[in-house]
């Protein structure tokens, strides 16, 4: 069964203010869908809403994944269905090591007991892939991590949890060029006919490594333009003004 993430007419408010004003979007298995758009246009709002953040209030519209309606589901239920969000600003959890947290998450998503030994093998392999030192696994989750380390840690989590839909919210921001390559390779290694990726970014640099099938532009809470790879290039050269003008 092909599981498509389907967003229709989505309107979302935060603290009484409408941010998303009717978004239509689709992410198909095997596809990379890039979303670009100016600061404050609602990209992170969309990402949080997809994951079911309690503060984002859905006014109308629908979000479905395969034949499942996502909106009534809690955040953890969505995660167990195969949704994943790499955060723009990951939270710090003092006192909880990356390894112990990830093992719990792994068991929750896989819905079975996993021995410490078995998990350690998985963790070791994925960390090696992402060129992360094993010592990182014993550090407290995101506490004192550099911006780049946090992002890499997000991709590590994605690699371990093996989602069906991954939303990457500015995972490329704050990465140096080498780290960007490693992270992009990490994402590419997960690509396959099953995985759909929604990649939110300001820069088309990462799109050189993770080539998108579709590029959409979000402005003021609406998708105002959709195109292919070349749209990203054009945006980088010309900015958003030409779309604004075209719209006006």
């Amino acid at each position: 069964m092909s599981e498509v993430l389907q967003i229709r007419g989505l309107r979302v408010a935060v603290e009484g203010k409408e941010i998303l004003k009717g978004v239509d979007l689709e992410v198909r298995p095997g596809q990379v869908h890039a979303i670009m758009g100016p600061n404050g246009s609602g990209k992170s709002t969309l990402a949080h809403t997809l994951m079911g953040h309690p503060r984002y209030q859905v006014l109308s519209g629908s979000v479905s994944f395969g034949d499942r309606d996502l909106l009534p589901l809690s955040t953890d239920e969505r995660a167990r269905l195969g949704l994943f969000l790499a955060f723009q600003y990951p939270s710090e959890i003092p006192g909880v090591t990356v390894a112990s947290f990830l093992r719990r998450a792994y068991m929750a998503v896989k819905q079975r007991e996993v021995s410490a030994v078995e998990f350690f093998r998985v963790l070791q392999q994925k960390m090696r892939h992402l060129q992360m030192p094993m010592s990182m696994a014993e550090r407290y989750l995101n506490e004192g991590f550099s911006g780049g380390e946090k992002k890499r840690n997000e991709v590590l989590q994605m690699a371990i949890l093996e989602p069906k839909i991954a939303v990457l919210d500015e995972t490329d921001s704050g990465l140096d060029i080498d780290a960007l390559k490693v992270v992009a390779e990490g994402v590419n290694a997960l690509r396959g006919p099953e995985l759909g990726v929604l990649i939110i970014t300001h820069y088309q640099r990462i799109l050189h490594y993770i080539q998108p099938d579709v590029v959409s532009v979000l402005m003021e809470g609406r998708v105002v333009q959709t195109g292919g790879r070349d749209l990203a290039e054009k945006l980088e050269e010309a900015g958003y003004d030409w779309i604004r003008e075209g719209k006006a």
Binding site: S74, D76, A79, I93, V96, F101, V109
Partner: protein
């Protein structure tokens, strides 16, 4: 109230297999004759009988705690007349578990005591109601002159040693509950570590209240001679289903030059226990005293482990965790008194409040004039799990010396919506995610515990999070 010992002895001698059976149970309420009866029952020397009676007078005289220490108790009225002050469950103490009555043995087996003893303890004491029913110390420590006994036996077997120190660190008139304990004390541990001896693995005492309306008043006395080391652990790690009981212990510790004592507590009383404990240590030159105090359960806990640093170079470390759930009040903290130069102290307190529970940190830091070069650090963190719960900080800082280094920090935080969302987005349910945040919060203290206790503490916290201990 007159107590007819002989009659009670008969009345309550029902045999060992019944959980409600006791050799002796004093009637409810406290009087001079109850105190006399306890002393007589134990066949104590005259000095101890007089000590008890003096303490009883002090108890009668002293008002309930008011003001800074224990002042909140007025909100939780405690009926001294509704308590049994002495309950003796068995005729004699076991040196092997076979000698312990089946019913009680089963209870402690369920608590994992004999297993723990085999696996990782140097010695074990197990107290059931008023009396220690089992006590043992591994041969290698006995050979090195270590004494680990219940305090009643110590009074009989080492009268001079006990008499020299008993009641010197916590005088009977110190506060109303210390006076009460001094009058009716029973059981508890006596530890003596000779100079230079390092007891590398922990000694542990388990305390269990079984009867309703029970008062448990154990008395601990630990003497660490110069350059010695001991880690003493006390705990009751099972839920105890009783109504309105009082646990009021006194713990006295003497840490001599260059010695180190660590005293760890994992307490998990049922929701109707008043837990009002006086714990104090004196530390001499270059000695180190460490309190690791985990307070879960109980209706009201008031406990402020103290260290008096009497000579240069003494060190104090107090780590405490309190978890206040529905209907609970945890008033915990610590006291450190710098009475000599170059003394060092660190107080770290973590409290968690949930479902309307209330926790407060009450701490005293005192630096006396002349304690030059003293260094002190106090840090308390509170974590609130919901809007109904409460946390307060009451620091009392008195510094009468200029050349000191003092740090103080208090932080109250709520389990953040963003943190929860983050963890839940990885598949963890809300409860599991919250428990994980709580575990992380107390991690700095848990990691100080031996592994077995750390696991136990985390398990207890998770039980609390599920609310199954209500």
């Amino acid at each position: 109230m007159a107590v007819d010992l002989a009659q009670l002895n008969e009345e309550y001698r029902y045999g060992f297999h019944d959980p409600e059976s006791y050799i002796y149970k004093s009637g409810k309420g406290l009087s001079r004759s109850v105190v006399e009866a306890i002393s007589a029952h134990k066949g104590e020397p005259e000095w101890m009988r007089r000590f008890r009676l003096r303490a009883y007078d002090a108890f009668e005289r002293k008002p309930m705690p008011r003001g800074f220490w224990g002042g909140e108790l007025r909100h939780y009225p405690l009926d001294f007349d509704d308590i049994h002050y002495y309950v003796r469950p068995t005729e004699r103490q076991g040196r092997t578990w076979e000698e312990v009555p089946d019913q009680i043995k089963t209870t402690f087996e369920r608590l994992g005591v004999p297993q723990a003893e085999r696996q990782f303890l140097a010695g074990v004491g197990a107290q059931y109601e008023s009396e220690v029913v089992y006590h043992s110390l591994r041969e290698e420590w006995t050979r090195q002159g270590v004494i680990f006994l219940d305090t009643d036996s110590a009074v009989r077997e080492y009268p001079d040693l006990v008499r020299e120190y008993f009641g010197t660190v916590v005088p009977p008139a110190d506060n109303k509950f210390a006076a009460l304990n001094s009058a009716v004390w029973s059981g508890g541990s006596f530890v003596y570590v000779p100079a230079g001896v390092q007891v590398e693995i922990p000694l542990q005492a388990y305390f269990r209240i079984n009867a309703a309306n029970m008062g448990q008043f154990e008395r601990a006395l630990i003497i660490a001679e110069e350059g010695s080391f001991v880690h003493y652990v006390e705990g009751c790690t099972a839920p105890i289903y009783t109504t309105d009981s009082l646990h009021s212990a006194v713990v006295e510790i003497i840490v001599k030059r260059g010695a180190r004592v660590r005293y760890s507590t994992i307490q998990n009383w049922s929701g109707n226990v008043y837990n009002l404990v006086t714990k104090r240590a004196v530390a001499y030159a270059d000695a180190t005293m460490e309190w690791v105090d985990g307070n879960l359960g109980s209706k009201v806990t008031m406990k402020y482990p103290s260290v008096y640093m009497l000579e240069p170079g003494a060190r104090a470390e107090i780590l405490s965790i309190a978890f206040a759930g529905r209907g609970q009040y945890q008033d915990a903290g610590g006291k450190v008194i710098h009475a000599a130069p170059h003394t060092t102290s660190s107080v770290v307190s973590k409290s968690i409040s949930k479902a309307g529970g209330r926790s407060s940190f009450r701490g005293q830091l005192k630096v006396q004039a002349g304690a030059t070069g003293a260094r002190a650090n106090v840090r308390c963190d509170a974590l609130l799990l919901d809007e109904q719960s409460r946390s307060d900080t009451y620091p009392l800082i008195e510094v009468d010396e200029q050349q000191v280094t003092i740090g103080h920090e208090a932080v109250v935080s709520k389990v953040g919506e963003e943190q929860l969302f983050y963890l839940m987005s990885r598949g963890l349910g809300e409860q599991e995610a919250t428990a994980l945040i709580v575990n992380g919060f107390i991690e700095p203290i848990v990691k100080e515990l031996p592994m077995e206790y750390a696991v136990e503490l985390n398990r207890l916290i998770e039980l609390q999070m599920e609310g199954s201990l209500g």
